[in-house]
Amino acid sequence: MTGQATSDRISRSDVSSTYRPSWLARLLSLFSGTGGLIVKIVLLSLLNAMVGWAVIVLFAQDRIVWALGTLAVLGVFDFVYLRPNKLLPAKFILPGSVLLIAYLIVPIFFTINTAFQRYSTSHVLTKAEAISTNIEQNVVQGEKFFLMTPSRDTSGALVLVLVDDTTGQTYLGRESGLEEIDPASIQVDEFGDVVPPAGLTALVGDDLFGADAELAAFEVPLEGGGAIKTEGISGAYDSVPGLEYDLARDVMIATDTGIEYTDNGRGSFVTSSGEELVVGWREYIGFENFTAVVTNPLVRAPFLRAFAWTIAFAASTVLLSFTIGLFLAKLLDKPKFRFKRLYRSLLIVPYAVPGFLSLLVFKGLLNDDYGLINKLLPFDVPWLFDPWWARVSVILVSVWLTTPYFLLVCMGALQAIPGELVEAARVDGAGRWQVFRKVTLPLLLVVVTPLIIASFAYNFNNFNNVFLLTGGGPTSSDQSVAGATDILISYTYKLAFEAGKGQDYGLASAISIYIFFIVAAMSASGFLRSKALENMK
């Protein structure tokens, strides 16, 4: 009907030429024709220039696959937009699709992929990177010790004159490397100090102490790994890698003890006694992240607690909001009720204020020490401090935010219920409560049930309400990542992004997928239910 009415209006105004497009409409129509063509060419050139530059950077960084992929996307763009009068739908769908794929579909695949990997704070590198990082980080002191005389060459660069403590062999240590020199080129003066060879000036006095920090950071690299490091201002020792990688056998070997660290297939090198090298790498571990939720008690406890609380939070928020909303709607649902419109406008104020602002304000209102609510109450309530009160607070604030929505929904639904049905029940002798229970409520639920399920699904992932009010806190007694009021989604967020206790992307992704299935099941049941209920009518 409405569509018909629109077409009537448009064609009538077209014919009588009284149709006046708004300024916005006239502005929009400027884009058609030649102007549009110019805009198109300019935009396409800009896109080519920018993406082309990115491809060059990608090639320079040796990310060949990514470079080719980006180039292919650019090619698709040019192909679609430069062919006249061909591939029309693609021209219109492409911009949105590219963004959709880049930031929605690729992330979904990425999340699924990550869920099967060990991917956490100490497992972010590739295996090759992890091997070299482990070797770099594990250096042990070697057997040699040198007497050191720090000096500078003519350009001011630091050069260490080194005398081996045991053999008496002499060296010059530069930032570029170690050079062996003839011991005869070095003299020892009457104080026992070393006089460096010609061209070098020994650092003395204030110069020496001023170079303290520079000396501490100075390293002379050795061939075959390791380095000579300074100790104080007059000594130096050689440091050698504590680990070696045996490519053929894929093991790391400790150079001093000979202990072997083998690849455990789960992103780490471990000894037979279970000792692990600190730096691991990303590795596929099958369903371990998924099963950890069931088998690993350290994961299971917080997960189950968060899961139970999520259900309790979403269910009580929705049921309380719906009940209160319906009750208020019923109060207002009376013919010729005074101030009806005023009341309704005032009651939906919480809906009109941006949610994040209300939540932050409630955080202040409920503050245990200074908050206004505790000042108005005759007794102090630990609203956000005590785990159980914090849960109560989260639910109360969520109800405050959600009730206006159900008030509006119920007012509309109540109006839609035919008056004759209520009248008929009354005539048959039913009381007010009976009419409400047996006639009004069932009819209302037909309309409202899908909305209740949708609201439940929404609150199931209502990150803001938890995170902005309590931050998921207070911390639970077992010191896990999940606080007392953490719902699954905020728990996942903390697992992935709050570094305090180590980030675990793999586990976070696995839990994300669990949440997806839960929400999808709820949405599907809501969908089926609304269909089923429609058919009932």
């Binding site: 077409s7 990514w66 959709l100 929605l104 941006p354 994040f356 200074y370 976070a508 994300s512 929400v519």
Partner: protein, 290 residues
């Protein structure tokens, strides 16, 4: 029993309950107003009834106090407005382009595409954040302007939602625009692009306004994605900034925070007023024929 001629006096209990409910509903917003103008700027010093009037709290948002921390309120506000406007504009633009294709062209995969778009929305965007974070991190290594802590990257992530439920809304509205208009324009020699710009879009201003409005307000409210992608306090959007503002110095900053809350509501209200006249038409016309 339900006699409309009944005396009004018997309704006193309804009014009583409703007034209690109203008091609970408007209490926090009213409290923000009094706190914003209260001369005692601390949380503990606030009371529901203001004792004295001041504009100092508003000044505190814009001018750095002597010896106090740097204030970024203007930057947060500007960042939020810019990104919300851009997101609204591009969401409408990209969404309308796609909706036009789905409404006016017949091509293979059209029905599947529409259904797929509905399905994919079921995967809650929030769950993708780990992946989005890593993608943006990697992108930033190649194109720094699209990396972490950049509003441009945040905008692109928001725009991935442009082809969402909005598309269905717009397609429904476009379907209600009679195809005879396209036909006559085509007869006059207009290309599909010209029909889109010259015929469809001008007639679809109501639905475009509504979708733009939702995108605008939604962006102003968005917290989670922004908190993952933006890292330094000078680059924050309003929700992040205000949250950081009171979580660090809760007690002292309360007055200024309340003033900030008052100002932060302005954009959404202005937006609503601006598109108010279109809301009913934009929502109903699209849904009837959807």
């Amino acid at each position: 029993m339900n006699d409309p001629t009944k005396r009004r006096g018997d309704d006193w209990w309804r009014h009583l309950i409703l007034w209690v409910a109203i008091a609970l509903a408007v209490f926090p917003p009213l409290y923000v107003i009094t706190a914003a103008f209260n001369a005692d700027q601390t949380l503990s010093g606030t009371s529901f009834l203001p004792r004295s009037f001041t504009l100092e709290n508003f000044k505190g948002l814009f001018v750095q106090k002597e010896g106090g921390a740097e204030v970024f309120f203007v930057r947060w506000f500007r960042a939020s407005i810019i990104i919300a406007l851009l997101n609204a504009f591009f969401t409408v633009f990209i969404g309308a382009l796609s909706a036009y294709a789905f409404s006016r062209f017949r091509f293979r995969g059209r029905r599947m595409g529409m259904l797929f778009l509905l399905l994919i929305q079921m995967f809650p965007g929030l769950l993708n954040l780990v992946a989005i974070y890593l993608i943006v991190l990697r992108t930033g290594e190649v194109v720094p302007a699209l990396g972490l802590n950049k509003l441009t990257a945040l905008l692109l992530v928001y725009l991935s939602g442009a082809m969402s439920i909005n598309l269905w809304l717009m397609k429904g509205f476009f379907d209600s625009i009679p195809t005879e208009l396209d036909e006559s324009a085509r007869v006059d020699g207009a290309t599909p692009a010209q029909i889109f710009w010259g015929v469809i879009l001008p007639l679809a201003v109501p639905v475009l306004s509504v979708v733009g409005m939702f995108a605008f307000v939604g962006t102003l409210n968005e917290f989670m994605t922004a908190s993952v992608l933006l890292e330094t306090v000078d680059n924050f959007t309003l929700p992040l900034g205000l949250q950081a503002y009171i979580s660090t110095n809760f007690e002292e900053n309360w007055g200024s925070f309340a003033a900030g809350v008052l100002i932060a509501q302005i954009p959404a209200i202005v937006g609503f007023v601006f598109v108010q006249k279109y809301i009913i038409a934009g929502l109903t016309q699209g849904s009837v024929k959807g």
